[in-house]
């Protein structure tokens, strides 16, 4: 099992109220899977994804990633996991506005202390993979939405992580660019990358092998894994 979430809860404190956002989530994903997470707005999809991506911490529960219990990791080790194991793609791209495509893609390598020359080679390779070899020294403002998202994907993949996390990657794109991104995902999946993707669109979700639904913070399995686990309150 590549990742395993057990009895995950997430509460936000709002004023003096404890607002539960994730309620007893149990989810296992194997290496090489392509999973779509669906659900209405505000149901807790992004919150779940951020926990999977190790940039947020659950209020309760345990999370194993590649055999490591994430809850016990120190800040430094968490950074290492984020850098090496996980690639993040956001709905709004989140590129550094003043840096070129090449420099944006190079950020994770910089944090991994990859030497400059090697870094450039890997970045060019990643940009080639997403079909942007001719936009290497463009800045985000000089790129279209679809191109920006492909730079972001190159950045997510440059360190060759096992898992690609994408939070509504096509949400801000026109349908043609969206399909380009999906083709790219399929290619990455075929190379063995595990992909977890949040989407609102059934069409986009159909690219995935498996679909899970979150409604009001509770996970509803889309296939045989769905089980009769009772929802427990703490």
């Amino acid at each position: 099992m590549l990742l395993e979430l057990k009895n995950i809860y997430k509460n936000y404190i709002q004023g003096n109220m404890d607002v539960p956002v994730l309620k007893n989530i149990n989810l296992s994903i194997e290496e090489g899977e392509y999973v779509a997470i669906m659900g209405p707005s505000g149901s807790g999809k992004s919150t779940l994804m951020n926990i999977i991506g190790c940039i947020d911490k659950p209020t309760a529960g345990t999370y194993f990633l590649d055999g490591q219990e994430i809850n016990t990791l120190k800040d430094r080790e968490l950074s290492f996991v984020r850098n090496k194991q996980i690639g993040f793609v956001f709905q709004t791209f989140n590129l550094m506005p003043r840096q070129t495509a090449l420099d944006n893609v190079g950020l994770p390598l910089q944090y991994a202390k990859v030497p400059k020359k090697e870094r450039k080679r890997m970045c060019l390779e990643a940009l080639d993979l997403v079909g942007l070899s001719d936009r290497v020294s463009f800045k985000p403002t000089q790129l279209s939405g679809g191109q920006k998202q492909r730079v972001a994907i190159a950045r997510a993949m440059v360190n060759q992580p096992k898992i690609l996390l994408a939070d509504e990657p096509t949400g801000a794109l026109d349908s043609k660019s969206g399909i380009q991104v999906m083709d790219l995902f399929r290619e990455l999946h075929e190379r063995g990358t595990t992909i977890i993707m949040i989407t609102h669109s059934d069409e986009i979700a159909s690219y995935a092998d498996r679909m899970v639904k979150i409604i009001d913070g509770e996970l509803i399995m889309g296939d045989e894994e769905a089980s009769g686990q009772e929802v427990q309150d703490e």
């Binding site: 550094m96 950020l107 360190n159």
Partner: protein
């Protein structure tokens, strides 16, 4: 690191106006410090230079009444003024520390001197012996010096220094042998002398400064001490100037000379013997005292050093204010870039990376301010030098210290904002609007 520095410059350039305003406190503080240090160092070096570096190093031993310079015409001392003789000079010359000795008398006349229609008021007269010009480092510029013959015959001859010559004969060149009227008497100009090096405009102590700018504005008129009584009805005291063997001997040479002279007037006076140079006040009793140039120079250097220390404290306040400005702008910058910080953390940047990035930015900002400040300070020092006629000495150490210190200010005041940035929770930062 180089990447961080490059990014810092990018950031500073992207907010040119803001960065400049932030740096202003640092710029002003550093500029003030550099200007102060350069000016003070220049003055201090000049003091030392004048003392140690010129051949005209002499010690004057002058008559004092109590704590004050003896004023002629004072009846209480009038009868006891010693008359100098050659054996007294020989005694001084016998001192190990002394290589030459001369005596002189000083006086000033309000009525001054007149040549043709040109009258110069308030002139300084020096009655000199045969050694005075050589001891004081004067050389003949035109004409000649006094001879033994001039003295014996009580010739009414006069020698001018170049300031006096320029003032009295404004423009006229051929004035040797011309007649000058002083106190309704005619004196013949036989020579013009000039002090070697750039001795005269330099300042050895506050008295000299005063002398140069006020008393000597119209120059000096020299006569032999043999005809001195014709010019000044009342007695002016004899003063002595000695040339020490070396700069280190200045203090001793002065003191021992004063001792000899005080013994002499003590015997004449039948007064209690005094050892010359103690500072105890002797009421109205007369006493020779050596001016101690070394001490005076040291005191002067100390005064300038302590003044500069105070000024530097004041300038430091500007640096602290500048530092707070940097802290403020760094806090703003951290807030502005919260999302960027969140993204970097999501991509795997460790705390140290974020910390280093912001610390570098603060340090680059203040170092740049420091460098601009150094440039402005040097400029300022030269402007001050131009206006106040003080010398400038740029101190390399001060420049290095200033730039390093500005960098330290950036690191110190950038620390809190940088830690704040480094400790941001990645998801909170990413979601920040």
């Amino acid at each position: 690191m180089i990447e961080n520095i490059r990014l810092s410059f990018q950031g500073i350039w992207a907010h040119k106006m803001r960065s400049f305003l932030t740096m202003l406190g640092i710029i002003i503080g550093i500029a003030a410090i550099i200007a102060i240090v350069s000016t003070i160092k220049g003055t201090s070096e000049q003091i030392k230079d004048n003392l140690v570096g010129t051949s005209t190093n002499v010690v004057k031993v002058e008559l004092y009444q109590g704590d004050w310079g003896y004023k002629s015409g004072d009846s209480s001392g009038g009868n006891t003024l010693p008359v100098f003789n050659d054996s007294l000079k020989d005694e001084i010359l016998d001192l190990d520390e002394v290589t030459a000795v001369a005596s002189y008398r000083l006086g000033s006349l309000y009525s001054g001197a007149m040549y043709g229609d040109n009258a110069v008021n308030n002139t300084t007269f020096v009655g000199v012996d045969e050694d005075y010009f050589s001891v004081m480092g004067y050389s003949v510029k035109k004409g000649r010096l006094f001879t033994e013959h001039d003295r014996k015959n009580h010739n009414k001859f006069i020698i001018l220094d170049s300031v006096a010559a320029d003032t009295l004969f404004a423009g006229e060149k051929d004035y040797i042998g011309k007649t000058v009227i002083i106190k309704n008497d005619a004196y013949v100009v036989i020579g013009v002398v000039e002090q070697q090096d750039s001795f005269s405009p330099k300042v050895e102590n506050l008295n000299d400064w005063y002398t140069y700018y006020y008393n000597d504005a119209s120059g000096k008129y020299f006569v032999t001490d043999d005809i001195w009584p014709m010019l000044f009805g009342f007695d002016e005291p004899y003063n002595v100037v000695v040339k020490p063997r070396s700069t280190e001997d200045m203090t001793k040479a002065g003191r021992k000379t004063a001792d000899i002279l005080n013994n002499y007037i003590g015997a004449n006076n039948n007064a209690n013997n005094n050892d010359g140079n103690e500072d105890e006040s002797m009421g109205s009793s007369l006493k020779y005292r050596s001016e101690d140039l070394l001490e005076k120079a040291k005191a002067l250097q100390e005064v300038s050093a302590s003044t500069s220390k105070q000024l530097i404290w004041i300038a430091s306040i500007s640096l602290i204010v500048g530092g707070i400005g940097v802290m403020n702008i760094m806090l703003v910058s951290v807030t502005e870039r919260t999302r960027e910080i969140g993204l970097k953390k999501a991509l795997g940047a460790r705390k140290g990376v974020i910390l280093a990035q912001f610390l570098t930015e603060a340090a680059v900002l203040t170092s740049l301010g420091g460098m601009i400040g150094v440039g402005a300070g040097i400029g300022l020092a030269y402007i001050i030098s131009d206006v106040a006629k003080t010398p400038v000495a740029i101190s390399g150490a001060a420049i290095v210290v200033s730039v390093v210190f500005s960098m330290v200010i950036g690191i110190v005041f950038g620390f809190i904002p940088s830690v704040k940035a480094a400790n941001l929770n990645p998801i909170d930062a990413l979601r920040y609007e």
